[in-house]
Symmetry: C2
Subunit: 457 residues, 2 copies
């Protein structure tokens, strides 16, 4: 290991860090389909969106031609607190797998929020602050996004109201406390604070909530409160834009050592990490400058790319948000309760959906027991306790490295290690105790949810 | 912030990382007092110690003249997985405090064990492996040391048996699961596995255990099992030696930019972090090359430096371990159950005790509510969720920075941020809910425990 010229971790110096986000849509000939107003079925206008989102973010959301957006100085200062994130050469993993493959991972868990979510949280909070707003509202499931947003708001002195899916609120009290440490108010959803919450509680008194319901409550609160806007941690174009910092840094680090990956692997829930990681590489592919394999990895229990349909759908279960064209399982779809591996969103980023639709990207699904097996193996070998979400990418990276072992090919693999698993030990415990089951929805089940898709056009 | 020439984080490149540990004792004219055999009251011999510790570690424990020990290549390879740890210039904190002081912290929480403990865990596990042992035993309280040792053992393929204080085992199931993820067996202590455990359970059927009892069980298991040795995460000279990597890296990073700290602040439980952080700086002071203020910070509820006595005492409650001369509250002392801030050890490293005794170092104690106040403030400003232990140092660093604000002095402060607080959210919750109380032992209470000190000579 010690004789390799490529260091174990490649860090960029401050002046090598990206100064602009890259907007992948600018290089797409066929652009992602626009968000539609569910009432009129017409593209959402900036004016319509600005009741929900900050003005600057609306601009970013709608702009599919500007390739680069300058990262404001204040955001770059904040980034310095935890960026550049390390690009790690997985020497130990390669050695244990005895593979000729060269494996790299971009580790985004190196901050208190424990994931890449902070990259967009600070950007969204910054624009809210700049617009003179009092605060923002959001929903959180597993809690990574809520934590990230709380941190960003604490830093900027912005109020932060988080609706946390009730079952997570109860099962993950520590996540809740981290958010409170950062000064956020955390409300279990559904709550009696909102109309939609009261309605759901009246209809389903014992419900433990869902992400879709929490989104609806957060949106209602934002729209109904003076000086508040709603922010979202994935799926949206603006989020992909901010997350491009992951890929830009990764590419700069690899370029420094003349390394070109053969394949780039990322887990995919709403697509924020994957979209960010692949952005500059996909840009090269779109411009015909280089070719790469891109592999999206999703849970077999929530297979939007691999078993969903490409259609307009609601972004939330409550059906109050705009319609997005995406690979979706139907907005009513919720993965089995025994699914512990995250990535539970029914849909997928419109940008990534369009790229997948055009055949520019592959997708695969993996079972959660295989995911936790890879997670534990990785933890022991590489010393980082990965989040279940991230471990989807680890699983496929290991599988690809083992294929190289069979064929003798020295392929270079880059994958995104999006976060750490400190708050997922209940799931790890289940796995250790042999109590984790796999769940794969049947075709009939998927068909049923597909029937909830709105009829467009 | 962006115009400063000193970067937000100073990283060392691989070739700038320390290649040898520094043995502070070599530069001490008056050496720390030796460990004594409790039976004969004579200094422990290498032979006596080698029943409990690995041979190489016994050598390191007893050697007070060799200034540098080469770090074996294998350990340096492991260090590369998470070292160099960042030396952070706390620009945001300085700005929020509006202080002319320059604040730096060495952040050791950037690895899955979440603390600096890994620096010594890998070294101790390595020497056990090299000696051809099957495994090691240890105790853990809060769980940082147990986690670190589990990681090191998983990496080297060594068996790891952890005795975890029963109340922590039950209150911190996630810590336990992290250790299991790394393949360690974790037994709540007292247990029925050992003689000492059975004896304690017979005498105190409902006991929730103590660190002292867990040490005794771990030592008994090591001594009674073929191919096992006992390892300890603090207090010992060998641990101070391994932890010197913290100070060596910090000093190298500061030297790169010509920065000389005026004061160096660290939290002190058994002394492993503080001893490691100050080592090379204290060496300069001992050799008359430079002067620094060194400040040990301990909890007001467990004030071994500030209110203990300098005397020979048992390292464990069970009184089976050798006697060490140290600042101690008496081996029977246990901080109040409401103390959540860690650093609960009744004694202190012999080396640090001797330095303090010689007036080369200061010590101060702080109340836990003030500690958590500083912790929360720091989290919001610097973005890192600190461990309660580390937050003792933060408290005093902030206090010193505020003194600079009063006097206008531009002092340079370096403090050790030993770890992260992800597994301490129960304590944070208490603090948020206003249910955290301070506890300061009375003179009469301390007097009572002092009576348990062994009579030596």
């Amino acid at each position: 290991m010690q004789n390799e010229k490529i260091p174990y971790k490649i860090y960029l110096s401050e002046n090598e860090m990206p100064k602009a986000w890259y907007n992948l849509r600018a290089d797409m000939k066929q652009k992602p389909a626009p968000l539609l107003n569910p009432g009129t079925q017409q593209p959402m206008t900036a004016e319509e969106l600005s009741g929900v989102f900050c003005e600057e973010l609306v601009k970013q959301e709608l702009d599919d031609t500007t390739a680069f957006f300058q990262i404001p100085e204040e955001i770059r200062s904040f980034y310095k607190m935890y960026r550049p994130s390390p690009l790690v050469r997985a020497y130990c993993l390669e050695e244990k797998l005895d593979t000729p493959a060269k494996i790299y991972y971009k580790f985004e868990g190196n901050n208190t929020s424990g994931s890449h979510k902070l990259n967009s949280a600070i950007a969204q909070a910054y624009y809210a602050k700049k617009q003179g707003l009092k605060g923002v509202t959001t929903e959180t499931g597993a809690g990574q996004w809520g934590t990230a947003l709380s941190m960003a708001c604490a830093y900027l002195g912005l109020d932060c109201k988080v609706y946390m899916v009730k079952c997570s609120y109860e099962q993950k009290p520590f996540r809740r406390e981290v958010m409170r440490t950062y000064g956020a108010s955390v409300t279990p959803s559904p709550s009696m604070d909102t109309q939609v919450g009261r309605k759901i509680l009246a209809e389903h008194p014992g419900t433990t909530g869902s992400l879709g319901c929490a989104i609806s409550e957060a949106v209602e609160t934002a729209v109904g409160s003076e000086g508040y806007r709603y922010v979202l941690g994935s799926v949206l174009n603006q989020v992909m834009l901010h997350q491009s910092v992951i890929g830009l840094e990764a590419k700069a680090a690899l370029d420094k050592y003349g390394v070109k990956p053969d394949m780039i692997i990322g887990c995919a829930g709403g697509g924020s990490n994957l979209g960010g990681l692949i952005a500059p590489f996909m840009g090269q592919k779109l411009r015909g400058e280089a070719d790469y394999r891109f592999i999206a990895v999703e849970p077999a229990s929530c297979p939007s790319f691999t078993r969903g349909v490409y259609a307009y759908d609601f972004c939330d279960t409550g059906m109050v948000c705009p319609l997005a064209k995406m690979y979706t399982l139907g907005s009513g779809f919720i993965p089995s309760a025994n699914h512990a591996g995250g990535l539970r969103y029914h849909g997928m980023s419109s940008t990534l959906s369009e790229l997948y639709h055009q055949g520019l990207m592959e997708a695969t699904s993996v079972k959660q027991t295989e995911v936790f097996e890879a997670a534990e193996y990785f933890a022991r070998v590489e010393g980082i306790l990965p989040a279940p979400e991230s471990s989807h990418a680890i699983r496929v990276a290991i599988d690809e490295a083992m294929k190289c072992k069979e064929t003798g090919e020295e392929k270079t693999i880059l994958f995104g290690l999006t976060g750490t698993g400190y708050f997922d030990m209940v799931a790890y415990e289940k796995f250790h105790d042999g109590q984790m089951e796999d769940y794969i929805p049947t075709d009939a089940e998927l068909e049923q949810y597909r029937n909830t898709l709105p009829k467009i056009g």
